[in-house]
Amino acid sequence: MKKNTLSLSKKNTLHQDVTSKLKVLLAEINHVKAKALMGVLTNGQYDIYHIAHSGVPLLRDVEQLNPDVIIIDIESPNRDMLENLNKISQFAPKPIVVFSEQQCANATINQMVKSGVSAYVVGEVNQTRVKSIIDIAIARFDLFQGLKQELADTKQKLSSQKNIDKAKRWLMETKQLSEIDAYHLIRKMAMDNSQKMDDVAKNILSVASIF
């Protein structure tokens, strides 16, 4: 029963990821600038929220909104606050797309992006330009998150492989089974109980620890 709920909720999350719009928070005190950006970003892909205050009230709104993306000017004093959310709370890291009207060489922008700034829009808020840069920033973020997920999955796989190996060895020693038979036994138990092999291995190991 428990297992079913788990797999169901996972499916739901996946489903949600595909269909829901990205929540974009625009933290910009200057209303004129904010309006221009909102105009550029308003389309079917994003839900845009504009917040014009700073300090703790901004932080509270961010936590309530739980946005996927925060857009903030590189010169905003609130940058430290938003960028370090994940260091002081359980908040998931979010890409922070910064823009500025300052004239800046392309090489510098590339450097900035490489050094962790998600994107850096320079000069006039140009419709196609802003949109494409933000799209790229989000794609980069997804890629990064994807890699992190992949790493976590690989680590998980390695640890289940270890469990299975340990359980196999225990079966070989105590039940005098060959390696192949021990493996088949674990697999059969997993299939019969519709469990993962890792879970069966863990069960075997917890039984083993009693003896």
């Binding site: 703790v56 905003s76 004093p77 940058r79 960028e83 370090n84 002081i88 450097q111 900035m112 700034v117």
Partner: protein, 353 residues
């Protein structure tokens, strides 16, 4: 004199009282004297100052003492070899409680006054009371990798208060006083002049300073990219020389008031001299309309005639790395792999001073 490779330098600073050395070197003509033309650029966030240094938008920066270590470890984004050839200041931070919280503590302890500097023990009753209601006191610091953070944590730990007993936020220095005024913050640890501003406005009371907690530990350092220093060795020497002269100038108390006047200008701190001058004169404003507390070395920039003060000795870096480890910012392996003497570069400092 040095044969400077680059005359025009962009130097980034944050508007704080301890940016005095980089500002005074400009105002008193020390950069010029050493053959440099320094353009001071005011930054609004530490993250932006860091990114601009990493990417060469600025050549040099006034940094929080833990920042070069954080950059080398890539604690924020890409690993970058930032070095520090000089300590610019020590002390200067303070912990301020909201007036509302302080009044409540006085009532809880049935007293009119608590002697200062006070320990975090006075908070215990309130923390316990809130715990019963499922609530916590909310504190703020300015940056995670900062002495402010480590000082606040230590102050709490000295009284057996765990960091998990409070909410801790990062709030920009200029937003600390308004956030406390609106009731969003119960306490903060921030650099001058923001503690004094809270007291002047009757919003908070400053009960303990970094000088009460740590013995003259480095607070701000000069930060450069390692590659930049290799390309500009003589320029680095000139920069260190000019800043050293500014630090020496600042050690003279009569000069401190003049420094406060410079700092209050719009292009620097853009804050009233009433708020800037006290800490520079060794005065810690505690409660509004009360006599200030004398704090020796509240803002320290040098020791007259003793060059050791500004030397970025590796053991300071090691101490900071230990604090970063103790607060969970870095792990034991990261500490082991750290080569502090390649970050805190006393060799550069000693070659010139």
């Amino acid at each position: 004199m040095f044969n400077v490779e680059k005359k025009n330098i962009n130097l980034g600073f944050m508007p704080l009282t301890d940016s005095a050395p980089v500002i005074i070197a400009h105002e008193m003509g020390f950069y010029e004297k050493w053959g440099l033309n320094v353009n001071l650029t005011k930054q609004n966030s530490w993250a932006t100052l860091r990114d601009k240094l990493h990417t060469g938008v600025i050549d040099a920066a006034q940094m929080l003492a833990p920042m070069p270590i954080a950059s080398n470890l890539g604690l924020h984004g890409q690993e970058s070899t930032v070095i520090s050839p000089m300590i610019l200041s020590r002390n200067g931070n303070g912990i301020t409680l909201s007036t509302k919280l302080y009044q409540k503590i006085l009532a809880q302890h049935n007293t009119n006054e608590i002697s200062m500097p006070f320990s975090a023990n006075i908070l215990k009753r309130e923390i316990d009371e809130r715990k019963k209601a499922g609530k916590k006191l909310t504190f703020a610091v300015v940056f995670p990798y900062s002495c402010h953070h480590y000082q606040l944590i230590e102050w709490l730990k000295n009284s057996d208060i765990s960091p998990s007993d409070i909410n801790l936020l990062i709030v920009p220095p200029s937003d600390m006083v308004p956030s406390m005024d609106s009731g969003d913050l119960d306490a903060f640890c921030v650099g001058s002049p923001w503690n004094a501003k809270a007291v002047r406005e009757g919003v908070g009371i400053t009960g303990v300073t970094s000088s009460d907690l740590w013995e003259n530990s480095p607070e701000k350092v000069l930060g450069l990219m390692c590659d930049w220093q290799i390309e500009h060795p003589e320029t680095t020497f000139a920069l260190v020389s000019a800043l050293y002269e500014a630090c020496q100038w600042l050690e003279n108390i009569p000069n401190r008031f003049e420094a406060a006047r410079f700092l209050s200008r719009a292009k620097y701190l853009d804050t009233h001299i009433d708020v800037i001058a006290p800490s520079l004169l060794g005065s810690c404003l505690t409660l509004n309309n009360s006599s200030p507390r004398k704090v020796e070395n509240y803002q320290q920039f040098s020791t007259l005639g003793d060059p050791a003060f500004n030397r970025p000795a590796h053991y300071y870096g090691e101490n900071i790395a230990k604090l970063m480890h103790a607060s969970g910012h870095i792990n034991a392996k990261q500490i082991m792999n750290l080569d502090i003497s390649s970050i805190y570069r006393e060799d550069i400092y000693q070659a010139v001073i």
